[in-house]
């Protein structure tokens, strides 16, 4: 079942000009992220609100390659420039929709939205167990999130890299947001695997 959802998600995400990877656990995911960073010669990486254990794994993996890491909590006074200067943004995905190829991020701090928005290269981290099949299945999850946050709450669906067809209808990537968008699906449980 999960395998079918993974297949459906990755197929759609790639159709939308994104790149996908499947990792057995957080350590493998961090290796994949490291190779993406290397490929684009990234020297500074912005991390989103990854679960603590995973944060540590990713951070350590970046240090190994001498890549500078910036991570939340971000200071208001450094923003938005701090994240803008990152070459790669690695963000945490609450859940994803297989049918539409959409990563769904939920936030209560706009600095975290910038991680998947400002850097030229975006990497979204997703736990396979958090894949749902259809868009309507997102509705109850969104309801839960918004009702648990009586004041501010922001949800972002991300389906591939930033795109436009505004010049001669030609599909072009990265006009404002990321030009390159990766999704890493982790099979293990709870981000601690």
């Amino acid at each position: 079942m999960t395998e079918d959802l993974i297949k459906q998600f990755t197929t759609k995400y790639e159709f939308l000009r994104g790149f996908t990877h499947v990792a057995a656990d957080a350590a493998e995911a961090a290796d994949i992220a490291a190779s993406i960073i290397k490929e684009v010669e990234g020297q500074r990486v912005a991390l989103g609100d990854l679960p603590d254990k995973m944060m540590q794994i990713f951070e350590e993996r970046c240090w190994e390659d001498e890549v500078e890491v910036i991570k939340p909590p971000y200071n208001r006074s450094d923003l938005p420039d701090l994240i803008d200067k990152a070459h790669v943004g690695i963000s945490w995905t609450k859940f994803a929709i297989a049918e539409t190829g959409s990563l769904v991020e939920v936030n209560t701090d706009d600095s975290l939205r910038l991680v998947s928005l400002l850097p030229r290269v975006h990497v979204g981290i997703l736990m396979a167990e958090n894949l749902v099949k259809t868009l309507p299945e997102a509705a109850p999850r969104l309801r839960d999130f918004f009702s648990s946050k009586p004041s501010n709450a922001v949800v972002t669906f991300i389906s591939g890299p930033s795109r436009t067809g505004d010049i001669e209808m030609r599909l072009t990537l990265g006009v404002h947001g990321p030009e390159v968008s990766h999704a890493i699906v982790i099979r293990g449980k709870n981000g601690s695997a």
């Binding site: 939308l16 909590p73 971000y74 200071n75 208001r76 006074s77 450094d78 923003l79 938005p80 420039d81 803008d84 049918e99 539409t100 959409s102 936030n107 209560t108 701090d109 706009d110 600095s111 939205r113 910038l114 928005l117 868009l135 309507p136 997102a138 509705a139 109850p140 969104l142 309801r143 918004f146 009702s147 946050k149 009586p150 004041s151 501010n152 709450a153 922001v154 949800v155 972002t156 669906f157 991300i158 389906s159 591939g160 890299p161 930033s162 795109r163 436009t164 067809g165 505004d166 010049i167 001669e168 209808m169 030609r170 072009t172 990265g174 006009v175 404002h176 947001g177 990321p178």
Partner: protein
């Protein structure tokens, strides 16, 4: 005064027709939009049924609007954002200016918002000293050249890459390559500091969710994410009608918008934003704010208007623009005020005034295709007819339109005076006079009139020879088969009788569709009343109604129920109306024969043209199936839109008639010329004239083919 208004419109049409590269770009964009839309609908689990659900949701939410509005506003406030109910544009603008002044704002970064364009927000803000930058690439391009959107979804589709490069050379003062990838790099660099430094981020909202007080913003580029996250002040302008009840409703809209617009299942980014989040740690509390401006600007009044109420269902997908034949030639600068295309006519009338809508409403040729493509079932052709009708109170119809609406009178006269009338029609001096006086283009080949009309002929022949019929049918002829082609009409009668159907052909009137097309609804209703009066009495006696002219069937099935709403006899006539070929099939099925069906049309190759009014009636599938059963090879030749004739529109002299009609028809003419066919078939008498002139390929009514062979 009326003539001056038309002269201006004609000038604009002429310019648009001459701008071939722009026309071609628009044509490609529209076709791409339609094709990918169809593909993506096929991928949906429920296919087209999905849009029915969306329509039901829209209807439900509009019914409960007052309640949902209150709920939404309360929830937004509970989340700490502000709500401002703006009666109209100036009220919204004052509110924005007040905020800008209080915050000492200098730069406003905007993401695409049609509602903000509706109230023309940029100009007053710029006059107040603010720098307002559109950040959607297409909108930015047209902002730089001071234009309005050429298309609802593709605002800058008419501007080529080298032209865009030139625009950014001027904007940046730096070298910009002519290639699209190169331009993108420049644009990214150019806009980034604006995103970083904007004091106010302004967005629209595609949906407002009442149950939670969140707005939904959909973009592909990600610019709305930028302007809704970085600046301290966020302002959203949305129309009241965007509010839905639940998350489930919102998910439907999120899916419906891009599917119907460009065949994408979701836009790349969809943001649901409730309240106002901080940006990182520290910073003064309360320095981050969000203001939701809910705009009325005529919408409440619209909801009370039985004709325009449904226009509030509009999801701004632009699909109607992707199929409208004339908008597809002239573009949104000519076919539109601020809201362009078919939906632009009722919306302009309601939010910018009837006068503005009337300026471009004559561009609608009433083909009805916008109604067919509309995902939320808005009866745009009828609304547009209403706009034309209301507009004619202040600006009486020009002579040529009055002549076209009185086509029946002329047909009668022409028939009564034939063959003199035909001699005159073939005389170039007379045609020149006709062009000068009543505005009928002298190049148009008009069909000859027949002295002995079909009704006269039928009467003379005596009663129907069928004594023990399987069905009874009253033939609703309309003008052409009666005044110009009585043999064709008789052939229809004989084919029905041959299948043991008793046919009645009483004295009758034309269907009156030109009154709808040019907007004289009083006369349209009169024609409908007359015909329903006659036909309903037959239906009461167990007769079916049969037509050979697609527009006549369309009038009975689609237009009359709108013109004469909630009337049982109208509904019954509509239900019992058939097009000839589906009726012949029905008759054949009632008298099954043991013999193998003959295939006399084997080896014949036909190109079938679907008249627009036939599309909602099965797109000619019944006729095609019938011909194929007889062995014919039938290929539908189409480019997905109208041939351009549109009844009598293509007979009118000038840009708003013959010229535009020809330009619309060109791509279809080419397709027919390239097709491997011997004969063109179509059931519409007017499309027939246009296609014959445009292709010089032999053309027949399908009935003539089966008669030849029987």
């Amino acid at each position: 005064m009326a003539s001056q208004r038309y002269a201006l419109l004609e000038e604009k049409i002429e310019r648009a027709i001459k701008a071939k590269p722009q026309r071609d770009a628009l044509y490609r964009a529209m076709k791409r939009g339609r094709d990918s839309r169809d593909e993506s609908i096929d991928l949906l689990p429920g296919g087209k049924e999905f849009f029915k659900e969306v329509t039901a949701t829209k209807h439900r939410c509009l019914e409960q609007q007052d309640e949902l509005l209150e709920k939404f506003a309360n929830k937004v406030r509970e989340r700490g954002a502000s709500v401002f109910m703006a009666e109209d544009g100036p009220a919204a603008i004052d509110y924005i200016l007040k905020i800008a002044r209080e915050r000492g704002a200098k730069i406003v970064g905007k993401s695409k918002s049609l509602t903000s364009e509706e109230i023309e927000v940029n100009k007053p803000l710029e006059e107040a000293g603010l720098e307002v930058i559109e950040t959607d690439l297409g909108e930015l391009i047209i902002q730089k050249v001071g234009q309005k959107p050429y298309h609802l979804v593709f605002p800058s589709v008419h501007i080529t890459a080298p032209e865009v490069a030139k625009i950014f050379r001027k904007a940046t003062g730096k070298e910009v390559p002519d290639d699209i990838d190169g331009i993108m790099k420049v644009v990214r660099k150019y806009l980034r500091p604006i995103f970083m430094n904007a004091d106010i981020g302004m967005t629209g909202a595609n949906v407002g969710i009442a149950e939670t007080g969140a707005i939904v913003i959909e973009t592909n580029e990600g610019n709305a994410r930028m302007v809704s996250s970085i600046p301290n002040v966020h302002i959203c302008i949305m129309g009241i009608e965007k509010i839905v009840d639940t998350f489930e409703d919102a998910m439907q809209m999120m899916l419906a918008h891009p599917i119907s617009a460009i065949g994408q299942h979701l836009t790349t980014y969809v943001t649901l934003m409730g309240g106002r989040s901080p940006l990182g740690d520290g910073g003064a509390a309360g320095s981050r704010e969000s203001h939701i401006i809910i705009l009325d600007n005529g919408r409440t009044r619209m909801r009370e208007d039985p004709v325009f109420k449904d226009a509030l269902n509009c999801i701004r997908c632009g699909a109607c623009m992707n199929i409208c034949p004339t908008s597809g030639v002239v573009g949104g600068h000519t076919f539109g005020h601020i809201y362009p295309g078919p939906m632009g006519i009722p919306w302009t009338s309601e939010v910018h005034g009837l006068e503005k809508a009337g300026d471009f409403a004559p561009l609608c040729i009433s083909c009805g295709l916008c109604r067919e493509i509309c995902p939320v079932d808005i009866d745009l052709p009828f609304m547009i007819a209403e706009v034309k009708d209301r507009d004619s109170q202040a600006h009486p119809h020009p002579t040529v339109d009055r002549v076209m609406m009185a086509a029946e009178v002329f047909a009668k006269m022409g028939s009564f005076t034939a063959p003199v009338s035909n001699w005159l029609l073939s005389n170039w001096i007379f045609r020149l006079l006709m062009e000068k006086t009543i505005g009928v283009d002298r190049r148009r080949e008009l069909p000859a009139f027949r002295w002995q009309t079909l009704v006269k002929r039928f009467k003379k022949r005596g009663p129907s020879p069928v004594s023990n019929p399987v069905r009874k049918a009253v033939y609703f002829v309309d003008l052409y088969a009666n005044y110009n082609a009585p043999e064709l009409g008789m052939a229809a009668v004989e084919q029905m009788e041959k299948r043991n159907c008793q046919v009645a052909l009483p004295e009758q009137k034309g269907c009156g569709y030109p009154y709808v097309a040019y907007g004289n609804l009083k006369k349209a209703r009169k024609a409908a009343e007359d015909n329903i009066g006659l036909l309903a009495s037959y239906v009461e006696q167990g007769y079916d109604v049969v037509t050979t002219e697609p527009t006549a069937a369309y009038a009975l099935k689609k237009s009359y129920p709108k013109l004469l709403p909630n009337r049982d006899e109208v509904r019954k006539v509509a239900e019992r109306t058939y097009q000839l070929f589906e009726y012949l099939e029905l008759l054949d099925a009632q008298t099954p024969s043991d013999t193998e069906p003959a295939t006399p049309l084997k080896g014949r190759k036909f190109g079938f043209h679907i008249p627009c009014h036939q599309r909602p009636l099965g797109s000619g599938s019944q006729t095609i199936a019938y011909l194929r059963k007889l062995g014919a090879e039938v290929q539908v030749v189409e480019n997905g839109t109208c041939c351009g004739m549109a009844g009598t529109f293509g007979m009118k002299k000038g840009m708003l008639g013959y010229e535009l009609s020809q330009t619309v028809g060109e791509p279809l003419f080419e397709l027919f010329k390239e097709a491997d066919i011997d004969i063109i078939l179509t059931e519409s008498s007017v499309c027939a004239i246009h296609l014959t002139e445009g292709t010089r390929i032999e053309l027949k009514h399908p009935l003539e083919i089966i008669v030849d062979e029987s």
